[in-house]
Symmetry: C2
Subunit: 351 residues, 2 copies
């Protein structure tokens, strides 16, 4: 898998990345020079301007901004459509893009880099004005930089690959801390973390957030349990929570899909969620509202994240060379009915 998989139809054109490389600075720095930012020192500025002259680089901001061939279409690429989180994210994106008189077209990468390449190539061929992408696990930063250099306005959503590309997400680590703190306040000491799916930045942020929060309370963060992707298979894998070591009295779920599946699996084992076992979801999707007992979940605010990503893209379309921006939502713990104080017997056992 190469990270620059497209035939570059504009190969003869000098890009900002070419300038940055020649001047031995980052693309972001080269962009700051063009914008005449005071953040760039005189030496760096001189070096970038020399590289621009040598390469014959011209950036016509007005032309880019007023580009006549706008298609009024925004491409959105997500890794997965079966998780209701993405439907909510999309509704947030659509609300903002609609208001701007533009249309969203969506593609599913299946979290596969090869498929993402193909989908992205087609979107570019179709002339979308810009793309909001939740990068497939394993996406290289160079993939995004190449797209940015093709003047394809781009926003990363949920997962971040490059600091040089706009990003909208949520503070997953803080969300994990909220979940751990809440369970600890209820007396839980052996807390499992149920995860699934491939490794990406949002995965790492959650796992690190969980481990840090557990360790800062002197609790063992090593009960991390991998579960199947398919919701129908999660229930039958609930036994994985209960291995040979200390038995957990609570589980924090990587997302609400896992919470929904585990809720069924715990029921099958005769455990009563909210009474003798505690369960916390993550994302707080609306489907969780139909769970009984009602699911306590850390809201990552999918609709809000979608709206933020869409606004970042509109800003990027209006000003293609502004420095990259990050918008990171705060998470909110919605306490409902799925957690309770640790049972005295379990407490004695786990001490």
């Amino acid at each position: 898998m190469t990270s620059m998989p497209f035939e570059d139809k504009k190969k003869s054109r000098v890009t900002l990345l070419d300038v940055a490389r020649r001047a031995n600075v980052s693309r972001a720095t080269a962009s700051l020079v063009i914008r005449k930012s005071p953040l760039v020192g005189a030496d760096t500025r001189a070096r970038v301007e020399q590289a621009m002259r040598e390469l014959g680089y011209v950036y016509n901001m007005g032309a880019a901004r007023l580009r006549a061939e706008r298609s009024h279409t925004v491409g959105v690429i997500v890794p997965n459509l079966t998780n209701p989180f993405f439907a909510e994210l999309l509704s947030g994106i659509e609300a903002v893009i609609d208001s701007a008189g533009m249309v969203v077209i969506l593609a599913n990468s299946g979290d596969l880099v090869e498929r993402q390449d193909m989908v992205m190539r087609r979107m570019r061929e179709h002339g979308v004005d810009g793309v909001i992408i939740c990068p497939a696990a394993g996406t290289e930063p160079a993939f995004l930089h190449q797209l940015a250099d093709w003047d394809l306005p781009l926003v990363q959503v949920l997962r971040q690959i490059s600091e040089e590309v706009d990003y909208a997400g949520s503070d997953y680590a803080a969300g994990m801390r909220q979940a751990v703190d809440y369970l600890a306040s209820l007396g839980h000491r052996t807390i499992a973390f149920a995860v699934h799916g491939p490794i990406h930045s949002a995965y790492r942020e959650r796992v690190e957030g969980f481990c840090d929060a557990m360790q800062s309370r002197g609790l063992d963060p090593n009960l991390i349990v991998g579960l199947p992707i398919q919701i129908g298979e999660i229930a039958d894998a609930a036994h994985l929570l209960f291995g040979e070591g200390e038995q957990p009295t609570a589980v924090i779920c990587f997302n609400d899909v896992i919470a929904l599946g585990l809720s069924a699996g715990l029921y099958d084992r005769g455990l009563k969620v909210g009474e003798n076992f505690s369960l916390i979801g993550f994302d707080d999707v609306t489907d969780a509202e139909a769970m009984r007992p009602r699911l306590t979940s850390v809201s990552t605010g999918p609709v809000a994240i979608g709206g933020n990503a869409a606004r970042l893209l509109l800003d990027r379309l209006a000003d293609p060379i502004r420095p990259s921006h990050r918008v990171v939502n705060e998470t909110v713990l919605h306490i409902r009915q799925s957690c309770g104080p640790v049972a005295v017997s379990a407490l004695q056992q786990s001490r």
Copy 2:
């Protein structure tokens, strides 16, 4: 809302619909004439051929088939992405379209005709090779005919607006009969039907199927209850099942989203699904596998319908003027745990 909302860039070109109108036959009949089908009588054939001559109509099948400007992209337009049914439908479409070396781009009409118009126009401008559409409620047949006449290969999925356009769906009426027959076999006589959403062909087919099945058993089909669209609001509306008349002992749900929501609402009322109240879903989405008790549901086979729609579109791309085809899946009742024999007390009350 006009039903032909697009600026027709090919206005000067004579279309098959022009020929059909001139000859006073349907577009399907004109298509059969071009294909030299034996199903068309000599008189009709002569009339169509005369119209073709008079209008100067030429259909170059080879050119259409080998069209160089193929984008290898299929547009899919769905009314709603929050119902997991559509994610499963899409996975069925993608599996087939992927195998053909093509890419799916998706758009959400929000079940709004105006939005669907805009999305469809953009897809056409982007040069998709064909479109699979679940028409928004209120879509006029003329809308689909116009698209077909622009040589945009088209397949209707789930909802049917026109017999002249390919269609992939499921036998919803037969599915309703399976649900009613099963509940009747368990002794239920007062059975509610919980619906939501706007009126379209799939809605009508289900309601008619329910009413026919109830009436053919001498049961009252009038306990049809409208519920909110949002899953989080369905539970709180469960009381609507229990009005002033006879109290139902079972409910058939329009889809599994309703089943999921009502399951929570029945729990809130102290009813035990599968014990003293019976609940049947419709669609059998994988989310239903995480319900406890496990949901009995009529499978409409979303993945299979998606695959059928994609194959219809590929066949249509290969042969743009073949007569329209219909592929209608049989439904399967998946019996799990959410229904039980009617309680004796309820039986006495309802008789």
